[in-house]
């Protein structure tokens, strides 16, 4: 058993070693994506035009304003003369958001009470709005632990009266660096490609070339073939994860705040499920193009769009939100972000781990049942 697996693994390794193109892709793609997302395609929405309605007019309230405008995220867009003018300010696009500092702000702050400032946002682009909320939370949290924001978003022509929107604070990314937020997503994304697309193609290629038929004549079992092949892609995926983490440490100062062991464990559980998806795909496709198409549709696309990598799940339409519960990427990303940024322990992310464990049990079972019934 072990020797057969080793034989397959060794062969796969030798082939990959000669396949310069794939090898380059495996190393370059993660690095490139990291650079691309880290620098060029900066997800940060900088220089948000923020208007202020200061009803407090105190030293304290001015200090708070100062905190906002000393970051590169907010630009001062003027004072709003009164509450009734807020709507017009945003409607005329003079500001993207309005910060309302309440009348009793200074008193409450001095008394050490919890204070709510109000932030009114143009909600037309929910993604931007969410990012702005993140900045506001970050500024407030850096400034004082007792400050929170109450958000109102403006969707149609005016602010809905009941539209108060409480958001969790972005406390796990206090410096508001979106590279940190992106790295876990990127790891998930790259692992998806490496562990779903590449093994699917590797098996289907052997189907196309007829070598799989030849191996299946030998006493080596399909399970051994699968294990030999997936071991390589498993190792590669882990190496890619290490690569991304190292590069992002060097370039963006991203550190793993939680346990590295827990991080590794999460990745391993995730990979068991995704590698099996790749194998499953290879059992019902017979051309490399088809395998690539199916694997991408099933992995890359939903991960990119639906797992919270780019678009926050909380700002998706409800039906889409429900779909995300079916995607391992969702849990994986949440777990990774928690471990890497918040330093969460096992009990904190248990809710993300157990769905991943379910995936890691169910998908390999389906794949092996299919393999034993139908072969490749």
């Amino acid at each position: 058993m072990f020797e057969n697996i080793l034989t397959i693994y060794l062969k796969e390794f030798r082939q990959l070693k000669r396949d310069r193109l794939s090898l380059a892709a495996i190393i370059l793609v993660p690095t490139l994506m990291l650079l691309l997302y880290g620098y060029a395609l900066n997800f940060d929405v900088k220089h948000v035009r923020l208007a202020v309605l200061d009803e407090s007019m105190t030293k304290e309230s001015r200090e708070l304003q100062q905190k906002f405008f000393s970051t590169e995220y907010f630009d001062f867009a003027g004072f709003v003369p009164g509450e009734s003018a807020i709507d017009k300010f945003i409607q005329d696009n003079k500001a993207k958001a309005v910060l309302v500092i309440p009348r009793d702000y200074a008193r409450e702050v001095l008394l050490g009470k919890r204070v709510d400032v109000q932030v009114l946002l143009d909600g037309a682009n929910s993604n931007t709005a969410t990012i702005i909320m993140g900045y506001v939370d970050g500024v407030l949290q850096n400034y004082s632990a007792n400050l929170t924001a109450r958000y109102m978003t403006r969707k149609g022509f005016s602010f809905a009266s009941g539209g108060i929107d409480y958001r969790p604070r972005v406390y796990y990314n206090p410096e508001l660096k979106s590279a940190k937020f992106l790295v876990p997503g990127l790891i998930g994304f790259i692992l998806m490609i490496l562990s779903i697309v590449t093994p699917a193609i590797s098996v289907v290629r052997e189907k196309e070339r007829g070598t799989l038929e030849h191996i299946s004549m030998a006493p080596t079992t399909p399970l051994e073939i699968i294990l030999g092949k997936t071991t390589l892609y498993f190792v590669l995926s882990l190496a890619a994860a290490v690569l991304v983490i190292s590069v992002s440490f060097v370039l963006f100062d991203v550190t793993v705040r939680g346990s590295v062991l827990l991080l590794a464990l999460t990745i391993v559980i995730f990979l068991i499920g995704t590698l099996s998806i790749g194998i499953l795909i290879s059992t019902f496709t017979s051309s490399q193009q088809m395998a690539f198409l199916v694997a991408s549709l099933l992995s890359i696309l939903p991960t990119f769009i639906l797992s919270g990598f780019v678009f926050p799940i909380s700002s998706m339409a409800l039906p889409l939100q429900i779909v995300t519960y079916l995607l391992p990427g969702r849990y994986f990303l949440a777990a990774l972000r928690a471990i890497m940024m918040k330093g969460s322990g096992f009990t904190d992310i248990y809710d993300q781990i157990y769905p991943l464990v379910i995936f890691a049990l169910v998908i390999p079972s389906i794949a092996s049942i299919r393999l034993s019934r139908k072969g490749f």
């Binding site: 020797e3 057969n4 080793l6 034989t7 397959i8 060794l10 062969k11 030798r14 082939q15 000669r18 396949d19 070339r209 007829g210 070598t211 038929e213 030849h214 191996i215 299946s216 004549m217 030998a218 006493p219 080596t220």
Partner: protein, 312 residues
């Protein structure tokens, strides 16, 4: 002598299309048997069913003493298979391919070393161990593929069109290799398009449209068909003769071979009938003899549509 293979009423349908149509045959142990047929005759499908790679729609096959449907793994232990597709890894070296196939067949290191030098020897690959397989000429690749298919010393070897696309010299070398395997006691099943290769086989099974049309030894088959109304017209004007006889409805087939024209004359008193037309058209310089059919003649005759319409 016992049978290495027994197939009875083996059938394979792909949807409504019948690729192999209830064929039955037996192969004696140690024989070299050739499956001959045109494209789509069903040769590969038959072989795949015998190897357990394709499930028959109906019928059964006993290979190496085991029912393929019930004990495919026992069958596999005893057979080697070289598919019609090139089945080596072109991005691995000669040595790596042999090591790989030795590995999946579970050869021990000692066995592998032994078989490795055997393959190098018989496939004439010495000194090319570290060449990438894709850089080998086709003839060498085919022999390496055969070597890899028999690393585990199978009793029965299936070779699906091993010589397609290679020139006659290389083809002969390949047949020497087959002869060597046969000499070591293996039963060998080869499929081919090339009728001249039939002469290397002890038994021939001709297939056409999923059916076996002829089965026997080359001499046996020739004897069986010796009374075909096949005639040879020797002439200095073969093309003219051909053009004349071809028009006659009772000449069901005609072909030119050098200075000879071969014809099937399905009529009473064929010699005088042929003489009649030729003389009427002013050709006097010819000689008609009864020809004994070649395997090719027999194959062409047996695979011709049986409607009586000449197939030229």
């Amino acid at each position: 002598m016992s049978h290495a293979i027994e197939a009875s009423l083996l059938t394979k349908n792909f949807g409504s299309f019948i690729a192999v149509d209830s064929i039955s045959f037996a192969v004696e142990e140690g024989k070299v048997v050739g499956f001959i047929g045109a494209n789509g005759a069903g040769k590969s499908t038959t072989i795949k069913m015998l190897c357990g790679l394709t499930k028959p729609t109906s019928g059964e096959a006993i290979v190496a003493g085991f029912d393929v449907a019930k004990h495919p793994e026992k069958v596999r232990e005893n057979i080697g298979y070289m598919s019609q597709k090139f089945s080596l890894y072109s991005d691995l070296t000669v040595k790596e391919n042999i090591e790989f196939y030795g590995g999946v067949y579970g050869l021990s290191n000692i066995e592998l070393r032994d078989r490795f030098s055997w393959v190098m020897e018989v496939a004439d690959l010495k000194g090319r161990e570290n060449l990438l397989t894709r850089d080998l000429p086709l003839g060498w690749r085919q022999r390496l593929a055969l070597g890899c298919a028999v690393l585990h010393r199978p009793k029965i070897v299936f070779l699906d069109e091993p010589t397609s696309g290679v020139d006659p010299v290389i083809r002969n070398k390949f047949w020497q290799l087959i002869g060597q395997l046969s000499g070591e006691g293996a039963t060998i099943i080869v499929t081919t398009h090339h009728l001249e290769e039939a002469e290397f086989c002890e038994n021939i099974i001709m297939m056409h449209l999923g059916k076996i049309v002829v089965n026997g030894s080359p001499e046996g088959i020739r004897r069986q068909f010796s009374n075909l109304p096949l005639f040879e017209i020797e002439t200095a004007q073969p093309l003219n003769v051909f053009n004349l006889v071809e028009l006659e409805p009772w000449i069901t087939d005609a072909a030119i071979y050098g200075n000879n024209v071969h014809v099937y004359a399905e009529i009473e008193a064929p010699v005088s009938a042929i003489e009649g037309i030729l003389k009427k058209n002013g050709i006097v310089d010819f000689q008609i003899t009864k020809a004994s059919p070649t395997l090719e003649d027999i194959f062409v005759k047996e695979t011709r549509p049986k409607t009586g319409v000449p197939n030229v």
